[in-house]
């Protein structure tokens, strides 16, 4: 009984950590972008204010229960992903739901949110939103290929489907996977650009084309939930990358440094890139990134 309370407390704290770090990173993203654009930019905590302002909105309109659920699905996805991904090496207080096969479960979970969102968006009746979510799903089919290939390569090479096992491998050999499986790392990094929906792969929200796409009918508390879910999910994904390729992190400082360096990749790439069209984005992911994925699998099969 005590252990359940203990774990629950750990889960709540990890959620708070993920939310804080995620939202701060979003603010830093805006700050960095502003500095490149010769501006001062908003304060780093601006996104906290945005989220709380949206939460304090008095009216919250939804066109039906599925739209309501769309936001909930996103949050559920984010929290589940967060619970599966180990935040620290040997973390007793952040035990998370590690089990053999969690990597496969994670792959499924990362698709789940988008699908749930699609259901919700379908009910808003806004054509822009419908087109936006279609684009989002199309793009997902694009980046899922290199991403899955990279993970499969790792699974084959180290004969495990558990994230903790992969982290232990890195701890034992003393080499990060980004060096021992470089092709998988490259494929995963390129897939990450799509996963973060930053320019040039922001085709799902694309304000100038679709008036922000799926979220165009979401306002007030729903948008607040979506933003928080986005932040938590982002943190979970960054932590996953750190766990897989940088051997996880043993303390908070290492976690922040490592996740932030991963976070900088899509941000800096996004500042100087225009947006792809949907089919161009898919073609991009099915080009070099998928090739790297294939090479990674071949390497894994040979080295096995």
């Amino acid at each position: 009984m005590g252990s359940i309370l203990y774990y629950t407390l750990g889960a709540i704290i990890s959620f708070i950590l993920a939310f804080t770090v995620g939202i701060t990173y979003m603010g830093l993203d805006r700050k960095i972008t502003a500095r490149v654009q010769n501006r001062i930019g908003p304060p780093w905590y601006q996104n906290f204010l945005d989220v709380s302002k949206l939460y304090f909105k008095k009216t919250n309109i939804h066109q039906g229960i599925m739209q309501h659920m769309g936001a909930a699905f996103m949050m559920v996805t984010a929290v589940m992903a967060l619970l599966i991904v180990p935040i620290f090496n040997h973390g007793h207080f952040f035990p998370n739901l590690n089990f053999q096969g969690d990597l496969i479960f994670l792959l499924y979970i990362m698709v789940f949110g988008q699908l749930g969102m699609a259901l919700g968006v379908g009910q808003t009746g806004n054509p822009n939103a419908a087109i936006g979510i279609t684009r989002g799903l199309s793009q997902m089919t694009g980046y899922e290929i290199p991403w899955v290939l990279a993970l499969v390569a790792l699974m084959i090479q180290y004969k495990t489907t558990s994230i903790v096992d992969l982290m232990n491998v890195q701890a034992e050999t003393g080499r990060w996977l980004m060096f021992s499986s470089p092709f998988a790392f490259l494929a995963a990094i390129l897939a990450m650009l799509g996963m973060f929906s930053h320019a040039p792969f922001d085709i799902m929200v694309a304000p100038n084309e679709l008036a922000s796409g799926p979220i165009s009918e979401y306002g007030g508390k729903y948008l607040s939930i979506l933003m928080s879910a986005g932040a938590v999910f982002m943190f979970a994904k960054l932590t996953l990358y750190v766990d897989l390729f940088m051997g996880g992190s043993s303390n908070l400082l290492a976690l922040l440094i490592k996740t932030f360096s991963f976070f900088l990749i899509p941000v800096l790439y996004g500042i100087v890139s225009p947006r792809y069209r949907t089919e161009q984005a898919i073609r991009y992911f099915w080009g070099w990134p998928s090739l790297f994925g294939l090479l990674a699998v071949i390497q894994a099969v040979i080295l096995k």
């Binding site: 502003a34 654009q37 001062i40 930019g41 922000s212």
Partner: protein, 182 residues
């Protein structure tokens, strides 16, 4: 300080209003020529984003409806609809002399002359064209009003809906507005 219901409500109000005033999302709708001064306002010399001013793409997400200049009756119809789709609390800024008294279009057959007859205006920014500094000053004024809890145009609109509707229907002959919940 005694923590009773009234006091804690006050504290909540202060926090809420602080969040509201520091994160003002403008609806990206250039209703008139004033929209030309908005891009400079967000760029390096004026940089409105440091005050938390940001552009929202759809009415559902926006807090501030910026009426940038004159409104023709055709646009007024859309603006009313957009305003009613926005979610509380919402603010209207009348931008430029045309929204105040018609400006130089005072005798035009197609533009309205006083915006506050049709929508509740919280802040007016005068000038034609108002400079970016004036725009920022207008936003600063709005932030002050919000912090003091005085920017309640939306409530006024709800209370006096009949009066506003009468005025609106007077200039929009064919009303044909869809029914929606707001």
């Amino acid at each position: 300080m005694v923590f009773n219901d009234k006091n804690s409500q006050k504290i909540v109000d202060i926090i809420e209003n602080y969040a509201r005033k520091s994160s003002l999302w403008i609806l990206a709708y250039g209703t008139g020529c004033g929209a030309i001064e908005l891009p400079p306002t967000v760029t390096s010399r004026y940089d409105s984003e440091r005050l938390g001013i940001h552009f929202g793409a759809t009415p559902r997400q926006a807090d501030v409806l910026l009426i940038t200049g004159y409104l023709t009756t055709k646009t007024l119809k859309r603006v009313i609809r957009v305003y009613e789709q926005m979610q509380d609390p919402k603010y209207v800024i009348g931008f430029g002399s045309c929204t105040i008294n018609g400006g130089m279009y005072w005798d035009s057959y197609n533009t309205i002359n006083a915006l506050d007859r049709y929508l509740p205006v919280d802040v007016y920014i005068n000038g034609c064209m108002p400079r970016p500094e004036a725009v920022l000053a207008g936003f600063a004024k709005l932030q002050k009003l919000i912090q003091a809890g005085k920017a309640d145009g939306a409530n006024k609109y709800k209370e006096n809906l009949d009066w506003y509707r009468t005025n609106q229907k007077k200039v929009i002959p064919n009303w044909r507005m869809p029914e929606y919940n707001w």
